[in-house]
């Protein structure tokens, strides 16, 4: 009855035109080629074109944009990393979400609901204090709260003593939250297309060519491209590509990481809550699903298949610390790849081993949170050939110099020799 009185308008005009233009022709030369149409590739291309005027850029994507980690992560963003090298980078990334929303004119649905990272022992509380001090030292809001304060924020939390890992408190990081990951992919693609970047989907890079220590081109499943600059930022596939195409080995193990959602619920969880001890995080999406995940099978894999083991693990963990969810049903599970380094920090390097060759990999499960800022700095790196200060600590040499970054306090051991 209401509707009948309303004037009927046509579908809004943004409802019709293709988001990232018509399918481009693959040219035989580009000023830069980016292998991998994920968030890092799209963001780098966007900034190359927008900030550095380097618009003759091709993104080569084997499947479709956002196929990999970009479309499989659980969209959590935060800037409460452990070391002083990481915090400023993630802080900038966090600050960029509203900026990009405006620039791209695309709602990235940033929900800065705040993150709680649960602590389950005195030792963990101490470790959190150091991380919090580091955040505060760099102007990032983060606080240590006790179990009762955590419960006040998250009423569903079980703070009793009779669970596997009783909750002592939490690291509360108000500016963090969730961003709609698919929106970032599509928004950046829209931005890339607007500035003339060519996005080639269903196109596989099969070889990278060098001559006299310089990048000369890339062969793809749709033809050869001449180019002086190549960035490999293919998420979990990067390390394999870099070794098998260029012979450069990396300290990376590619693992399958899984996530899942429950059936949609009315608002019950207003924050992103995570627990290292339980290997489990949970947050509620705008659709009302509880998204949860984190556990990884600790051996290398390129499969995105799921495991029964993981679902059960997740259910057991949630039964402990968010027990009301026992009455909720899991609905869907999916997997993606995480390229893990021994120090849980990425490798961003380039223009040294081979002129014009750049890499941006080893992000593990942090690739989403960082993509906006990394795109900005990698673009600056590629445009000038000089590594920006911000990225210098992430060089590859640190591993042979016995100077791991310390992003985790504990050992990351997928193999006993790490």
């Amino acid at each position: 009855m209401f509707g009948k009185m309303m004037p009927r308008m046509g579908t809004p005009k943004w409802g019709q035109k293709p988001l990232w233009g018509r399918k481009p022709r693959l040219k035989s030369h580009y000023d830069a080629v980016i292998i991998g149409g994920g968030l890092h590739g799209l963001a780098t291309a966007y900034y190359l074109a927008k900030a550095h005027g380097l618009t003759d850029v091709a993104i080569i994507e084997k499947r479709y944009i956002g196929f990999g980690g970009a479309g499989r992560n659980t969209a959590i963003v935060r800037a409460n990393q452990r070391t002083q090298y990481n915090v400023p980078l993630y802080k900038e990334a966090l600050d960029l979400w509203p900026v990009l929303t405006r620039e791209l004119d695309f709602n990235l649905m940033f929900n800065n609901c705040g993150n709680l990272n649960l602590m389950h022992s005195e030792a963990a509380m101490k470790a959190a204090r150091m991380t919090i001090a580091t955040a505060q030292f760099h102007g990032v809001e983060s606080h240590l709260i006790d179990a009762k304060e955590a419960k006040a924020l998250v009423p569903a939390l079980n703070i009793s003593e009779d669970i596997t890992f009783p909750i002592h408190g939490a690291m509360f990081h108000p500016p963090g939250g969730i961003v709609r990951h698919d929106a970032v992919v599509w928004g950046l693609a829209k931005g890339c297309a607007k500035h003339g970047v060519h996005i080639h989907q269903q196109t596989e890079a099969t070889a990278i060519h060098t001559e006299n220590g310089k990048i000369t081109g890339v062969t793809t499943s749709r033809g050869k491209i001449h180019t002086p600059r190549v960035l490999v930022t293919a998420g979990g596939y990067s390390a394999g590509i870099i070794y098998h195409m260029l012979g450069i080995k990396l300290p990376i193990s590619v693992l399958t990481i899984q996530a899942m959602v429950t059936q949609p619920l009315k608002p019950i969880l207003d924050h992103v809550v995570s627990s290292g001890a339980y290997h489990c995080y949970a947050n509620q999406t705008l659709k009302g699903e509880i998204a949860t995940g984190a556990h990884m099978d600790p051996w290398p894999n390129y499969t995105t298949q799921n495991t029964a083991h993981y679902i059960k693990h997740q259910a057991e963990a949630l039964s402990d610390w968010l027990p009301c969810l026992r009455g909720v049903k899991f609905m869907r599970i999916w997997g993606g790849l995480a390229d893990m380094t021994p120090d849980m920090a990425p490798i961003m390097d380039g223009n040294n081993l081979i002129d014009g060759f750049y890499m941006d990999c080893g992000w593990g499960y942090f690739g989403f949170k960082s993509c906006s800022a990394v795109g900005k700095y990698m673009a600056a790196f590629m445009a000038s050939g000089n590594c920006p200060e911000m990225l210098k600590p992430f060089n590859l040499k640190r591993y042979e110099n016995h100077a791991l970054m310390g992003e985790t306090a504990a050992l990351v051991s997928y193999t006993p020799d790490n």
Partner: protein, 970 residues
Amino acid sequence: MNRLNQLPTLRIDPAEKRTLSYRGKSLPGVAGDTVATALFANGVRIFARSLKYHRPRGLYSLDGECANTMMDVDSIPNVRTENTLLKNGMVVKEQNVKGSAEFDWMGFIDKFDWMMPAGFYYHTMHKPAAVWPHAMKQIRKAAGLGEISPDYVMRGRFDELFLKADVTVVGGGAAGMRAALAAAEGGLRVVLLEARPHLGGCFDYRVSDNGDGTPLYQRARELAEQVAATTNIRVFTHAPLVGTYSNNLITAHQVGSDSDSFTERYIEIRSESIVVATGCIERPLLFDNNERPGVMQVGCAHRLARTYGILPGKQAVFAVGHDLGLEAAIDLFDLGLKIGCVADIREDGQNPDLLMALADRAIPVLKGWVAAKAHGKTVTKVTLTTVEGTVKRDFDCDLLVASAGLTPVTGPFIMAQAKMGYDNHTGYFLPTELPERMFPAGRLTGVGDPRAIEASGRLAGLQAAAACGVSLNGELDAAKAATAALPGPERGCKLVTAPVKGRKSFICFDEDATIKSVKQAIDKGFDVPELVKRFAGVGLGPGQGGIPGHNLPLFVAKYTASSATPKPTTLRPPLVPTFIATYAGAHHHMFKRTPLHKSQKAAGGVFRNIGVWKRARYFSDDFDCREEILNVRGNVGMLDGSTLGKFRIHGPDALKALQRVYVSDMSKVKEGRIKYSAMCNDDGCVIDDGVVVKRGENDYYFTTSTGRAGATVEWIRYHTRFDGWDFHLVNLTDAMGVINLSGPNARKVLAKVTDADLSSEAFPFSGYREITVGGSIPARAMRLGFVGELSYELHVAASYMQAVWDLLEEAGAEFGIRNFGVEAQNVLRMEKCHIILGQESEQRTNLLDVGLGFLWDRTKSACKTVGAVALRQAEKDPNRFKLVGIRMEDDDRPARDGALIVDTKVRGYVATMRKSFTTGEAVGMALVEKPLSDIGTRLEIFEDECNGVRLYARVVKMPFYDPNGERMKA
């Protein structure tokens, strides 16, 4: 409503009454009812409102493929009422409505769909930016279906089961039962899973005959009896499969009946081979208002009548694309349903016998016709049209039975990573290559003839048995021949949508996605089904793709005019929504207790997790542990150190193995002495420290930290795996308890319970002795000084631990002996600057950084010691951290552990710091960059929540207590 109480097919017991509470009323039902059938029998037609547009929704499939009948039952949200058996006293509520399902104030939103094309949210509400947070709040409130209370407690008993099977048959219809029986003939272990509460599948409710005069339902019951009589078949009913994984792992959950010991249980089956006989569900017919209450699928209408004794309507119209629809029309007509018309999408290909039977009953049949629109909030009228859309006719009715075709339940194959392809004959997506040792059977292969269904089941059962290595001689060939002789797969109807624009034709009910919104998504560049799913929101709702799974790829292929065959979208576990409580199952908490656990608890111990152990951290509510600490310093205390890792290594090459993993020269370990050393990883970072004693030739006993005990055997064997050395490790961690007796009176206490000579000459610091305690109990005694006092560490057989503890406690009573816990130990050792790995080190801290370089023997490079290369290479690096002792300028204000050492950058951090009860100084240890490590350097400390106020400390000499070690060596 009067039930059809006399049907032989019923699965309800009309004599056994049940009640449920709905909208404040108590409604009757009967045993065997689902919640939804009971409500339907009571006249409820609108069960819920849809997620986005709040459209009324009703009973559609009766198998839970969509959220239409999801309700709140006993405060549990999103319960699929059509799959949930009614229990007495259930309280049932509508979800996601303002008002009621019948009259929902939010229903007006349905009129505004034109404002919300696919991807609506991405383009709106972000300009100006201040709008978004408010909009988001409203979106969150509007989204979601059911509600769970944050303090909800799930009742019931949840369990788990891990089975080994030779053959697992998924689906307990006729094909599945025949497969199970065939596989069981050779004595194999067979498991049969059936999602419904009873075996029978699509035979269970049908009265047509199987070719030899037996009605199908009767045939199904015969087979069920045979299955029950076969002892090597284990049957699980009401047990839907939820996942298939590689290496033939299957997961399912089972809903318990009143007589079961569990409410629900999780089942995991590792099976040699698998038969998938999951049958078909129906492919929804797309037309305007195709999801109105009153529109239902063929199986739903048919089973309502035959299984539950409820006539689904009074006046019906059928719009179907397969013979099961015609069969149902005939049977329902015979049961009393009036049928205005049967529209068959197919121009031809119908079973002539069925057409004849329809004609006999004077039911009009329109071939090549389809439903175009349903009218009314619940159906009151339907518009039928020819498939081309040229002619239309209206029919009044309260029931529209609509079904475009069948769609096989191939989830088990998809989840097992089978490659799926489009089959032109059946119109199904079927595996093009079968996963190893997985065999399809029954209707999902496309066959519809009852004898063919059974024969294909037997064949698959035999194939599965053969895959387990059973030799079948000619039986397999005979079964193949028998199957081949029967009618094969039937040609399927391929029509996707009626000739309508599709603004109200719902391809996905749960997310209110229409044909129109799918077109919009494709137009925006999202041209593969997986992307349409994400952008337009199709198949991501609670029904998990059961409704759109088949239609979406068909439609996308059509709309994009793609020359390639349609590609199926993927399916992910759980195939059926499953409670987190069910997945968690029994959820046993496994942790270790020391032999002294009970007495430590009785003594007021406050326990904490330390790795896999529970350990007493405090013995009072003073978590600064003042009394515990001072008693050790001034008197004597006892600590339960049983969690320490303890190992025996023996054999001819035992020393070589120790040399490989310990940084020290282990050939210098002397009998009667303990040697403290450390293990590094290949980065030179310290991973463990402990002591080694030599108990005989090629026979050593060594300790590790609590956290490393579990990985020690693995570590040593890993680093010697290429060497072929002959040595053996025995983990004695749990075999030996450890009592740390520390304090100036420790010797006096110990002397009272042993005859051994404890004098410093006979048993000096760093000594190792095997003594007897309490007259007969052997103990391995070490003189260590971790806490900085005279200390004896007694390693005692676990079963004797309590006895020895009691002896010492009794002996120490006159000295005021008392417990101390892990935190007191932590402070005591900090005062001595003895490090705890993980506390004074992190992953990048090497042996030299923490000042343990003296342990490293550089002359044994032939041993290829783990970590030695890295230590050599890092030795000269000026940029490393170094562990230093620090003292606050203000002794009353110790920095907290984890505080940063800063200037303009972070230069280090405080590892441990306390105000010492012993010395009155605020002292601790910190890891700082080398240039800051000189004695006397002033350090600026940045603590969390300091609000810009810095603290200051200076680097001081270590240790802070008894620098010459006179007390511990006393």
